[in-house]
Symmetry: D2
Subunit: 428 residues, 4 copies
């Protein structure tokens, strides 16, 4: 088994939720250091004031997560260097004039329980998640491994290349503020070319299988998440039922109506009430309900339409049940578009990697990725960016708790990136 696959399986075994990626950060930093890189970590990678309140850890949570990281084999000195914030950045500097290219790799996992069942390779081969309710079901373990693969490949190539290459290992893509915090630290300000990649994306609206690649995506959706708190009034359901203000029913009615919002003919629109937590016990009219939702749109108009409709419904549900609500707004991850110029570079590079049998020029994000924050920043300064889809056969769709994939895609992705870098940074 090659090193990239080893790395991937190690990260898979120790999945960490957004802003808790201490073991992963420490391990990435350790490997990069061993390879010879000087690494930035924590507050030098992410601007800590950019982390919105809903995602801020308490000191206790931070300590607990850092301690867990050490217990799970992280090098304590690298854990220490995080200063309580995940994120790693290494720069490969040729010390020659030339362009700046940045790669983005995510490190966080999803909050599901990975199944421990025979016949499922991560279980059979011993790399199933050991962290309860945590699983790499979005391939970020693979992305991090690709980043380390590129880092290793680069080491021998200082002579052949020009300019600088930044390897950004970003926390908190699944949650919030990860890309924004890196951008706010200024790391994208001097970047000419930006590449992010994601395994198991779709092309022509079907999952890309092994041996395929899509050179970029243009269908990013914006994403806004809200935590809505309905505040009703408890009452005994058969002693004073009329005194209650039923927050549970308000949330249920709102959830159904929100899912019934009409689509928008101007492009993709998605909405999801992902969580409800309501009530205190069976024999009390529920005085409280938390509803966690998100909505996405392919354009700003759609996003605004979605927002208006969602708040109409929240207002209406509150009115219907004579109660009030408040909410936490996680802010909006924007939409974005890959650039044809750099997609062409990827196309040529992929053409040189035998593993890729079919090359799609354009693929589908199938949602949102905060890589768009970085692409937008780079484009603002005249740079070009792309978000590449790496095809791979999987056991389940992305975001399913039982997600394993064809690891051959990892090496192919590294190779493709090296060809792209050769073109972008070749010595004149």
């Amino acid at each position: 088994m090659n090193k990239i696959v080893e790395y991937r399986r190690e990260f898979h075994k120790y999945p960490e939720y957004g802003w808790h990626e201490f073991r992963t950060s420490a391990r990435v930093a350790e490997i990069l250091t061993e390879l010879g890189y000087d690494v930035l970590m924590g507050p030098d990678v992410v601007n800590i004031d950019s982390i919105g309140e809903p995602e801020q850890l308490t000191p206790e949570q931070t300590n607990e997560a850092m301690e867990r990281a050490v217990k799970q084999g992280a090098n304590p000195s690298f854990v220490e260097r995080t200063k309580g914030y995940p994120g790693v950045l290494a720069v490969f500097d040729t010390e020659k004039p030339g362009p700046v290219t940045a790669f983005r790799f995510e490190m966080d996992c999803l909050p599901y329980q990975e199944p421990e069942e025979k016949g499922y390779r991560p279980f059979d081969d011993g790399y199933v998640s050991v962290n309860k309710g945590r699983v790499h079901a979005c391939g970020h373990d693979g992305h991090t491994a690709i980043g380390l693969g590129i880092a290793e490949e680069l080491m021998g190539k200082k002579e052949q290349l020009s300019g600088k290459i930044k390897l950004i290992f970003q926390p908190a893509e699944e949650t919030f503020y990860g890309a924004q915090a890196v951008v706010d630290k200024g790391h994208l300000d001097d970047v000419d070319y930006f590449l992010a990649m994601h395994i198991a994306l779709s092309g022509e609206n079907k999952p890309l299988p092994s041996n395929t690649i899509a050179c970029g995506c243009k269908d990013f959706l914006s994403d806004r998440q809200l935590d809505v708190y309905f505040e009703g009034k408890a009452a005994h359901p058969c002693g004073a039922a009329q005194e209650g203000k039923n927050a549970l029913l308000a949330a249920c009615s709102a959830a159904l109506n929100i899912h019934a919002i009409a689509p928008h003919e101007g492009g993709l629109f998605r909405v999801n009430v992902g969580e409800i937590h309501a009530g205190v016990c069976a024999n009390t009219i529920a005085p409280n309900a938390l509803m966690r939702l998100e909505y996405r749109g392919q354009t700003q108009e759609i996003s605004q339409y979605a927002g208006k409709r969602v708040f109409d419904i929240l207002d209406g549900a509150a009115k219907s049940y004579d109660l009030s609500y408040k909410y936490i707004d996680y802010g909006e991850v924007p939409a974005g578009v890959s650039d044809d110029e750099i997609m062409e570079v990827v196309k040529r590079a992929a053409g040189k990697v035998p593993w890729f049998k079919k090359i799609y020029f354009e693929g589908n994000v199938g949602g949102t990725d905060d890589a768009a924050v970085m692409i937008n920043k780079v484009q603002e300064n005249g740079g070009k960016g792309t978000y590449i889809g790496i095809g791979t056969d999987t056991t389940s769709p992305l975001h399913n708790a039982k997600f394993d994939f064809d690891e051959e895609c990892l090496g192919a992705a590294v190779d493709m990136c090296m060809y792209a870098l050769k073109e972008l940074h070749e010595q004149e």
Copy 2:
């Protein structure tokens, strides 16, 4: 401040949830012992096999609760004597022939957060709950205090009375199996007269204010509680939305339809979906939902009607969202009816207590009480029982987190009980 009020405020400050009443049990046992009673505790009071699975504590939970009790001032030796099960029983035995009367007092609290705000007496006077998310909002603190008051009054009266008087301090009235476990231990088998009482009940469907009493109730409802688990399938809401099976929406639709079940013209029917906990995060179609519900009926026909309609709707919601569900059934607390004969005794006794200015013969349970399990048992053996409503002015209705009451009712209740005992147990 008299002792009964002191006791009540002490219990109010340290509320304990069903099957966790270790501090209360220990304190009750300690006081009764000091008064000269021999007390039974724990497995001698409750039949531990009668405690259904959903209410069984793990050894860890039991330890934690017992340790907390000691930390909060309980006498460790009495906590020890519980052997991990709450419940206290003391018998006042005149050692003369005569009838057996049993009193039932509940000790458990409700899972709400009591407000800590100025102007609210428990806060101002320092007896607001110190246990987070726990509050005596159903008056059981007062009931326990009444029990101790009767115990004290009895002590000097051995000469004047005949027969036996049992004082049952029962756990877990708000949750499940409390009364049943006491009955299954055989403590009601020899009982001729049974009295339970509840403060802040209603009469003529209005809360009974201070200075009133209702001598018995006949409108007990049955109560059945279910924990329903919908099992759907996670999917990314904008990458594979069509793959999901949305357990959250299934629960929401079920909850609305369950609350819309038509009433029954044969008597009272009530239903409540008290809790929903669904989903894992905002950006995943919810694969799971727990719905905690109860339904009640004044007759068996109504209870069966309710059960049929609830399960029709659960089946329908599961079908609608192409998923399955399973459930835990907590069993049914039955309905019950007070006996006129003993209600007449209470009427005469109350007439001798000046505090009671208005005496209603019949009051309203306004729901369910597992005192019915005991009343039914006593009646089965030819005995008579009643469930008495003690009027008291309150800050909020029962089952509201901000529930305080006019403590003068406690002494009046003790006095009324003593007059009733005098009639029932007078020396021939």
Copy 3:
């Protein structure tokens, strides 16, 4: 077959909706005239200004209904005498001093389709409804027949009785304004005793079978009906879905939430969304929805609670779907209570009729009856009233399209009334 049964079957065959009872009115007036009564009809019975706008017929509708009545065998001269308004009143005047007693009989039917199937007596015996979508499913055909029976019995009894007896054949009990219009005409102003009766009521919350009677009811509910018009905006569901304002979904959401309004512990509360008519065709987002609903309460407090909750939900549904609504309010039929004094009279009278084997003192209205408008008026002037339940075996519950009953109850009801009149109007 006796005459009362013949009358009942005739009325059953030609059911007429509220304010359309021209055939019935003409036939009742004809029979009463033949018996020797002077009858009042139409505007002399009902105050036409009391008929609210929603129930007013257009001249075309009136003509059509009157023509139909004649076609269906009504005597044209009596149809003429209605002057376009149903209602008949006859006074049996002993011309001696004495009290005034009034009886109320309803004449209108319900808007359902009676089944035409073998084995169903009305079909087999040829008295099934010939008017499409119209059926006497609430027993008013029987009530009218009882009225004629009393009228006939009275004729020979002028010498034996004193005072006056009014026989009021009222239109529009199922819809609106029937009783009010009679009251507003002053016909109840001088009444000392008022009796209305209804077959197939309940006692102890179970349908009263044949050979039973309940002497009065005290559980009248108020009733308020609303026609709600949601006004949205049409749009093509896959060309401009986001432009629509979906009145159909607003109505559906409102209907579910209205049926989920919590009960009131102060007494009976009922709500029903009886009709929805929404949308224009399958491929258009529905721009309009009519929702016809009613709510009832046993006390004014409950009725106000219901009204507040209904309008909260209507407001909330409108807000949720960003549209508006308007409504027609049919006004409120009040609650009311029978008087013990006259219930005792009925009890004694029923005791003399052998057919009644079981006599309940109190029965259940099981809803609303505008007889309450009359009872309230009589009580206002110091009179006494009752609303009697006549037990009878039926094929289906009241308000079911397949409703036939044991006609023996009719004669028994007449006999009971005659005994009551004997007591109330006996010569001193």
Copy 4:
């Protein structure tokens, strides 16, 4: 005002619903005949056995519609020639070898009420709909006028062209079976090129304004319509509420859940419950509900997904309310795709018409059109087809009751078609 605009306004004033287009058919046939065409009408145009049961008129309805047509100025002899079926077909035959091109023009309207308000041109200029609840809100008045414009232009061009040109004036596009009935009659069997066009379509998902054109569309959705009948049980809502089976609530719950069906990531999916008609009166639990719905998908997979989810929900709602349902299935209008080859022809033709300032190669159907039935048939035989979007400024989106448009687009469309015909049918 030119003739095409006059024609359009005449058709606008007399809108006729699907299968009722007798005035329009007669008028079209009359004009074509005056121009010198031999026309086919009624059963010679449409295969009457293809008209599914739900759309079949009763003889009374047919007579009434034909009589209305004559009253509204249709030539009785042409109305007669319809033999009770709308539809007109004229063939321009050059009597020289060459290809066969067919044009399709729809004639039916939508069932909305056009507003009669000042400032709205159809009202101000006197061509607002005179048929209550009928309006040309989908531009078919304009399409028919374009057809007549082409017919007129062709007449002088027999010498310059070869082959045959069929002008098909089709009934019932908005409802069902229109295109299918023409196809089943064989009129498309020999067609080489097929052109349909629609005004006010979108391009790049925005309504195409005046001076634009889209040469073809590829995003046709399939469409299936169902009439669902829930069959419950009536009961009095406060006398026997528990006896009812509430069809209204079943429909409401189903409608909300159907609108909440998750989208499909494989392409466009749309669903609409367009109508509900439930219940009989306010004070009866609704025993019946009709729900009229449609669903659409861009691929067969999506269409099947939609069908499964809809029927899951119908089953679930029926189960939830313990009732049954049956349904009428109107069948499925398929998806379809325009051909690049003929889109190129349109592009060249449009380039020659100065009015078209901006030419989009591809536009958006934004839904379904049964032109797809014809395109599919032509493609089956090796022919090519397209569905062209003609841009035009409008007062409202399509399918809105207040829909008027910039009539200059009509002449431009005719000119474009003539240039296309010149290319397709030019003499060799």
